[in-house]
Amino acid sequence: MRRFPVCLIFLAWVAPLAAQTPKFELLLGGLLLDTRENRLIGKGAAAVTGKGEGRLAGGELLLRASGIGLGGRYLVGDMDSSRGAFAPGRQHIADARLIFGPQAFGIELGGMYRRIDADSTERQWFYGRVGARSTLFIGASGVAVTFAGAYYPYIYEDTKESGGKGWEGETAVRYARRGIPLFIQVGYRYQTFQPDTKNRSPHIETSGITLEAGIRLGK
C-alpha cells in the first residue's frame, strides 16, 4: 500500500512530460558494456563463489511511433575470471521488446537471451521479460534521463522452463544536440537472476557501465 501513493506521484509527474516527447523516434547505436559478474553456486557452507569481468560490445535499435515501438540490443564479448570459481568464456546477451506508451513512460513486453560459452560448459537461457522504461527530457538542454526496470517471470534453459526468476534495472543519461542526429549516452545496468531455483542453479549478478553512441532521428 505504501507504494501506491509513490506510483501516483510518479504518474502525475510523467503524464505532462509525455506530451513533450517526440512522436517518432529512431535510435541506432553502438553499445559498450564494461561488466562485472558475481556467481554463487550452491547454498550455505557448500556454496562456491566466482567473480569475473569483461567488456561486451554490440548495438541497440529502437523505433517508436505514436505510442508503440519496438527495440532490441545485442552484446557479445569475453569474460575472464578475476576471483574464485568463475569459468571464463564468451558471453552473448540479446533482448527484444515491444513498447507500449510514450517515451515518458512505456511498458515493455519481450524476451531476453543469454548464452555462456565456457571451456567446460555451454549454457543458454531465454527469459520472459516485463518492464517499464521512462525517458524524460531536461527542458531543451538536449539531455534526457532514462530509468528502466524489468522483471523475468519465466526463465527457460534451452527450451525447457527452468523455473528461475530475476530482474534488471538500468539508468542512463543521453545527450543529443538539437538539429544534429547524433547522440551519446552513459549509464549503469544491474541484473540478477537465478535460472533454476529447484536444482540450486547459480545466483548470477551482473553490473556494468554502459557507453553508447549513434544516430537518433526523431520529430
Binding site: G139, S141, G142, V143, E170, V186, E205
Partner: protein, 352 residues
C-alpha cells in the same frame, strides 16, 4: 499711427530716395557720354569718377560708367592723347569682374581699347554664375543646375542663406573654369530648402591667388509640405511573447538526484539474493557513475535554454510580418509622395 503704416511710409521714402539717386546717376552718365562724344575726355573722366563713387549705383549704370571712363582715359589716338593707361586698365578690370566676358560697347571702343580689355581680362580673376530665372524641381531626384564660369581655375561653392541667417551648403565643384552647381530638391526625405525668401550665394575662389568672388541672388522657394507619413515605431522586446519557457533548473536538480540515487541504489540497496550480498561487495563504480550522472543532469538543468513555445513563436512571426507590411506600406506611400513632389526656385536679379 500703426507700425505697419510706418513701415510702408519708410519703404516709400527709401524707394523714392533710391529712384532719385538713380535718376541723378542717369543724368550724370548722359553728361559723361556727351562729354566723351564731344572729345572732352577730362570732363568725361571727372564725371565718371563721381558716378562710380555713388554708393547706390546699379550694376548696369556702373558697367556703363566704367566703359566711358576706360574710353576717356585711353582714347583712340585720332580723338586725343592717352591720358591714363593704368587708370583705364583698372576700370576695365572692374568691368571684367562685373560682366565676365562682355565686350565694350561699340560707341566707346576702338581696337586698342579692345586689346587693353583682353590684357585686363587675362590679368583679372572673374567668375560668374548664370542661373535660370526659375527652376522647377520634380520628384525625389529633382535638381537644378546653375552654370558657372571663371577666367581662371577656381573652386565654386553654392550655399543658401535663410532670412534667419542659417547657411546651408548645397554643392561645390572645381578647380575648373566652367561647370554647374547642383541644388537637390530633397535631403533624405525632407525638402532641402525652406519655403519662402532667401539668398543663394555662389562663391568662386581662384586657386592661384585665393581671391574670392561672391555673387548673391535673392531667391524665392516654393516648397510645399510633403506630408510624409511616419513609419511605425520599431518593435521592442515588450512587443513579443516569450518564445521559450524558463530553464528546467528544478527538473534538472530533481532528476539529477533521482538518476544518481537510482544508480547507486541499483548496486547497493536493490541487490539480489542474500547469498550474493554476503559473498560480494557492491560494485564500487556505481557511486562514481551515479554522482557523475547526477552532476551532468543538474548542470543540464542550469544550462537549459528553455523549451521553445511554438504558438508564441508563430504569434511573434505574425507580429513581425504585420509590422513589416505596415512599414512597407508607409514607405511606398512616402515614395509616391516624394515622386510627385514639386519645388520651385525663382531667382531674382543679382544683389549689388
Amino acid at each position: 499711427m500703426s507700425l505697419r503704416r510706418l513701415v510702408v511710409i519708410a519703404l516709400l521714402l527709401v524707394s523714392a530716395r533710391l529712384e532719385a539717386q538713380e535718376a541723378v546717376a542717369s543724368q550724370l552718365i548722359e553728361r559723361a557720354k556727351a562729354a566723351y562724344n564731344a572729345l572732352n575726355h577730362p570732363l568725361a573722366d571727372s564725371l565718371t569718377r563721381s558716378i562710380l563713387a555713388m554708393p547706390e549705383l546699379s550694376t548696369r549704370q556702373r558697367v556703363l560708367a566704367l566703359q566711358i571712363r576706360a574710353a576717356a582715359l585711353y582714347p583712340d589716338p585720332q580723338d586725343g592723347a592717352v591720358r591714363d593707361r593704368a587708370g583705364a586698365v583698372q576700370a576695365l578690370q572692374e568691368f571684367v569682374k562685373l560682366t565676365f566676358d562682355q565686350r565694350i560697347a561699340r560707341e566707346f571702343t576702338w581696337p586698342g581699347l579692345d586689346t587693353l580689355l583682353t590684357q585686363a581680362r587675362a590679368a583679372t580673376f572673374a567668375a560668374r554664375a548664370f542661373p535660370d530665372r526659375e527652376y522647377v524641381l520634380e520628384g525625389a531626384d529633382g535638381s537644378a543646375k546653375i552654370v558657372v564660369r571663371s577666367t581662371r581655375k577656381a573652386l565654386f561653392r553654392l550655399a543658401y542663406l535663410s532670412p534667419a541667417g542659417e547657411t546651408i551648403a548645397l554643392d561645390s565643384i572645381g578647380p575648373d573654369t566652367a561647370g554647374s552647381l547642383t541644388i537637390h530638391a530633397l535631403a533624405d526625405t525632407a525638402p532641402l530648402l525652406p519655403a519662402g525668401p532667401g539668398e543663394m550665394q555662389v562663391t568662386a575662389t581662384d586657386v592661384l591667388s585665393e581671391e574670392s568672388v561672391m555673387q548673391r541672388f535673392p531667391v524665392r522657394v516654393k516648397s510645399p509640405s510633403m506630408g510624409l507619413v511616419s513609419e511605425p515605431p520599431a518593435l521592442s522586446a515588450a512587443s513579443f511573447k516569450p518564445e521559450r519557457k524558463k530553464p528546467s533548473r528544478v527538473k534538472g536538480i530533481v532528476f539529477g538526484i533521482l538518476v544518481g540515487g537510482a544508480t547507486i541504489a541499483l548496486s547497493t540497496a536493490a541487490r539480489g539474493p542474500e547469498g550474493l550480498k554476503d559473498a560480494f561487495d557492491p560494485d564500487s563504480r556505481a557511486t562514481a557513475v551515479g554522482i557523475g550522472l547526477a552532476v551532468g543532469v543538474i548542470a543540464a538543468g542550469f544550462l537549459d535554454p528553455g523549451q521553445r513555445i511554438p504558438e508564441n513563436i508563430k504569434a511573434n512571426e505574425e507580429i513581425r510580418a504585420r509590422w513589416s507590411l505596415d512599414v512597407q506600406a508607409v514607405r511606398m506611400q512616402n515614395e509616391r509622395l516624394r515622386a510627385s513632389y514639386r519645388q520651385t526656385i525663382t531667382f531674382e536679379s543679382e544683389a549689388p
